[in-house]
């Protein structure tokens, strides 16, 4: 019998929340990717998006505000044979966890980051998140936002993410397709997942997005993939992605902005020093003999510490 990717918990998001679409897309993507259910781990931070793992019937770890990336990194590096997917909010990943978001781009650990982007902190009653433009007054704010917003796609590109995409929560099929591609990507994939917050963001509503969104994969000549491991090709695709990331307003592009499979993952970088890392990862490596004594020998490993005559 096919594994049921839904848990039997009542999903407690507000009616009309974009998270429902994202959840359905994740469940469908996991079923389609078809790994052993035990080999999936969903990691989340804090906030509405962070409840996602509880609603998916694979292992889930709902962590601390802003720290989903380090938690996901620890899991993946201890057992590189697992499939790790991370759900974080825009406040979670781009404000309190911004340092980790930058570091993750430099590491290129093989996992997928789903950035739930709704412009507000929902669970604390609608404060402005880092993606809400300056001058915007959503209904939870006392006065218009005086922070400038950041551009998650451009930020991700500039710190080295090797797969950068945008999806829209209410197009479940397209979102599922992008998540699946992100999972299959070798390295860190980040998906800027646009979603309305029907309770606190009365500006960027479903209707607002529906009028603006267009799909890159329907554009003629749009090829986000780095085809050759050559500097010129990388630069061309990178600049094209940066340019595209600047489009916002009347038209909002959705789809894959950039994809480069030629950058070694952090796991492959570990393998340089530790050739059997994938076959004997930290998670499952034997550490003691049958009688419980140590398997390693001090003289063998630390011989440089011996004072020799």
């Amino acid at each position: 019998m096919a594994h049921n990717f839904k848990t039997d918990l009542w999903v407690d998001w507000c009616p009309g929340c974009g998270d429902f679409g994202i959840l359905a897309a994740i469940q469908q993507a996991l079923a389609e990717y078809n790994a052993k259910p035990e080999n999936y781990v969903i990691v989340s931070g804090i906030g509405c998006s962070a409840k996602t793992p509880h609603y998916v019937n694979v292992s889930g770890i709902h962590t601390l505000h802003g720290r989903a990336i380090p938690f996901a990194t620890g899991i993946k590096l201890s057992n590189p044979n697992l499939t790790v997917i991370l759900d974080g909010g825009d406040g979670d990943l781009l404000s309190i966890g911004a340092g980790h978001f930058v570091a993750a781009g430099r590491r290129n650990v093989d996992f997928t980051i789903i950035l739930h982007n709704n412009g507000v902190y929902g669970l604390t009653k609608g404060q402005a998140s880092p993606t809400l433009p300056r001058g915007t007054k959503t209904k939870g704010l006392q006065r218009p936002n005086i922070y400038d917003s950041l551009n998650p796609v451009a930020l991700a590109l500039s710190v080295g993410y090797t797969f950068v995409a945008r999806a829209y929560a209410f197009n479940i099929k397209n979102t599922k397709d992008i998540i699946l591609k992100a999972i299959k990507h070798k390295g860190t994939a980040v998906i800027d997942l646009l979603q309305p917050c029907p309770t606190y963001n009365d500006i960027n509503t479903k209707e607002w997005y529906d009028q603006r969104i267009y799909y890159l994969d329907q554009e003629k000549d749009w090829d986000p993939v780095v085809r050759k491991p050559e500097e010129e090709e990388v630069e061309k695709k990178y600049l094209q992605a940066i340019n595209k990331s600047l489009e916002w307003g009347d038209k909002i592009p959705v789809g894959i902005f950039y994809q480069n499979e030629f950058v070694p993952t952090y796991e492959e970088r570990i393998k340089q020093n530790f050739p059997n890392y994938f076959e004997d990862p930290p998670a499952t490596s034997q550490i003691s003999k049958k009688d419980g004594s140590a398997i390693v020998d001090m003289e063998n490993i630390f011989r440089d510490k011996i004072v020799r005559k």
């Binding site: 709902h62 962590t63 938690f71 057992n79 490596s285 140590a294």
Partner: protein, 633 residues
């Protein structure tokens, strides 16, 4: 009693090879069959500021350092000033005569406050603060002063093309070993042992050794040759390295860290020993290669988060940090607590608060280690007092973490971290690895937080079982719940594990009692103070003063009954600690109701020495309630 008992300080500018000089001394005396123990003191600075190395050499195991020192080797113009009170009559000062005319205010590397204190001493002596005058003063009080032009001796030996500053460290070390009566061949062995792979460096330094011995010969001083003892193969390690060795022997597979003094040296050491051979039993003791993954994280929050989540895949994981980094880890520590995750955190205490004294000693993070993180959750807190303890405690930390599924904090301090210890090989058969309880059958639905008699649930792993973790209060499956009855049951389940740990952890891992068990004078202490206290107790015993030391090793769960029992019959209890608020005494009071009445404290960031513990205990016995120890440059 040890026939030989020598205290030596070598001082010079940071970056001037003090560390290598220290290694040459310790390695040479180890080759000569002696016991030694040494400590590095240094500023938070890369190059230029004063640093020194204090070592003691005996035939018997060395447990502490002592002032005044028998020999002071000064590689620069700052050392003679800074350590002017660390010598006494019959001590020897070896100094660079090129600094003869150096005035105190020309020593620009010295902090103005230190200059001021030294200037005041010279005002009392009624002479100008110049090295020349300082040496006259030292001679007048019976100190033997040996001037050497380092520059001349080095250029005469190696020619004009070699920078003298690069060799002054080995020259200083060689002169001191010549004067202590150690044969030149042994000093050369020590040099080769330090600079082993660099052939040219070894050859140059061997010439320096010959020149040093020749120079000492030419002085015409009568030097008693040391009786060389039998060499045996031993390991020279710092406390940082001891923890690293313990972790690897204990099965460490994943270590994370963010650079911080004095913790980073442990991870740096592990990075140099992260791929090795191990014996697989079921393949006829065949060797195979395996590794430890060491990750330098982007900050300490990330470091602990990675270690915590890594542990949930089944790997033995750990992180190491110092005060400021530990402060950042507090929230995640609670996450490990509520999610019952076995993770080990090695905490190297340094002077706080804030950046405090980043390279100096402290024991002021005990209460923080016991209380860090909001809310209430079980944790195990253990403390080590020397390199051998640190090795075994690093293994025990993992065992406790996995057995009780709790975060374990292993407390070290700067003195332990940066001291050189010479130890015997730890036999792998003596390392006992104890792991989690696993689920009995795969048929029933796995519950990560299943209620059990002991509070300990069978462990599950990502990649094996399906389960959930959350920082929220949760049900047995790991899903969020705010149900009041489940909350009570989960709190009680988690906290109960400490009662089980309290029952199972053996007495010797909780506390050790040293000295005269029926003595009416009891001392309580912990960490790196153990050695100097034991030496001071021996000295007091020679005078007929009997004491006992209750040396604390386990702070959480606190062994209340055992401590109360160990303190029975005490007429006076003296607490000795490196902090202002006498934190261990507060913990004892909290858990046993017993009042500690006398205090010997130190918070200037420098190491505690045998002589000052001895002197301070005498002051307490003469009626003082509190003594603040102030020694150390």
């Amino acid at each position: 009693m040890s026939k030989t008992d020598i205290d030596l300080i070598i001082g010079g500018p940071q970056g001037g090879g003090i560390d290598s000089a220290a290694q040459v001394v310790i390695r040479s005396f180890t080759i000569a069959g002696f016991e030694s123990y040494g400590l590095r003191e240094y500023h938070s600075n890369i190059k230029g500021r004063h640093s020194y190395f204090h070592v003691r050499i005996k035939e018997e195991p060395v447990r502490s350092l002592r002032y005044p020192v028998d020999m002071l080797v000064c590689l620069d113009g700052e050392t003679p000033f800074v350590h002017m009170d660390d010598v006494t009559s019959n001590s020897i000062i070896i100094y660079d005569s090129d600094f003869e005319n150096t005035k105190l205010d020309q020593v620009i590397t010295m902090e103005p406050e230190t200059q001021k204190h030294i200037r005041e001493k010279f005002q009392t002596l009624k002479v100008e603060p110049v090295i020349k005058n300082l040496m006259e003063y030292q001679k007048s009080r019976g100190v033997n002063v040996v001037p050497i032009s380092f520059r001349k001796l080095i250029t005469d030996t190696l020619g004009q093309n070699k920078p003298p500053a690069r060799y002054s460290n080995t020259l200083g070390a060689s002169i001191s070993m010549a004067m202590l009566g150690l044969p030149a061949e042994i000093t050369k062995s020590g040099i080769a042992s330090v600079f082993g792979r660099k052939k040219e460096v070894v050859e140059d330094n061997e010439k320096i050794v010959d020149a040093a011995y020749k120079y000492v010969d030419s002085l015409g001083i009568k030097i008693k040759k040391l009786d060389i003892r039998e060499y045996r193969e031993r390991f020279m390690v710092t406390g940082n390295e001891a923890v690293g060795i313990g972790k690897v022997l204990g099965g460490l597979k994943f270590q994370t860290y963010y650079p911080i003094t004095p913790a980073a040296d442990e991870s740096f050491f592990l990075e140099g020993h992260d791929y090795f051979e191990e014996a697989i039993e079921n393949q006829n003791e065949q060797l195979r290669k395996t590794g430890v993954v060491i990750v330098q994280a982007e900050d300490e929050i990330s470091a602990i988060a990675m270690a915590i989540s890594g542990a949930m895949t089944g790997a033995r994981t750990a992180t190491a940090t110092s005060g400021p980094g530990f402060s950042l880890m507090a929230e995640a520590l609670g996450y490990a607590g509520i999610n019952e995750i076995p993770v080990v955190l090695t905490l190297y205490q340094r002077g706080g608060p804030s950046t405090g004294l980043p390279t100096r000693n402290s024991q002021a993070d005990l209460l923080f280690a016991l209380n860090a993180g909001h809310g209430e959750f079980p944790r195990i807190v253990i403390s080590s007092g020397d390199a051998e303890e640190a090795i075994f405690d690093a293994v025990k930390a993992f065992n406790y973490a996995e057995r009780y599924q709790v975060p374990v904090i292993h407390i070290m301090d700067k003195v332990l971290a940066n001291s050189f210890y010479v130890i015997d090989k730890v036999d792998s058969s003596k390392i006992k690895i104890q792991r989690w309880i696993l689920p009995s059958s795969d048929n029933e639905e796995y519950q990560r937080f299943k209620f059990t008699e002991t509070g300990i649930s069978p462990m599950g792993f990502f990649g094996k079982q399906i389960f959930w973790l959350t920082g929220d209060e949760h049900n047995e499956l790991g899903h969020i719940t705010e149900d009041p009855e489940t909350r009570d049951a989960m709190m009680e389940k988690r906290m109960k594990k400490l009662e089980i740990a309290s029952k199972e952890i053996p007495l010797e891992d909780k506390l050790l009692v040293f000295g005269d068990k029926d003595a009416e004078i009891s001392i309580v202490s912990w960490g790196s103070n153990k050695g100097p206290i034991l030496d001071a107790m021996d000295k007091l015993r020679e005078e007929g003063i009997k004491t006992r030391l209750i040396y604390l090793r386990l702070f959480s769960p606190f062994p209340s009954k055992e401590v109360a029992e160990a303190l029975k019959g005490s007429k006076v209890i003296i607490d000795i600690e490196n902090n202002y608020t006498a934190q261990a005494a507060l913990v004892i009071k909290e858990h046993t109701g017993i009042n500690v009445d006398k205090f010997i404290l130190k918070y200037n960031g420098r190491h505690v020495t045998e002589d000052e513990v001895y002197k301070s205990i005498k002051e307490v016995l003469n009626g003082k309630d509190k003594v603040v120890m102030t020694s150390g440059a």
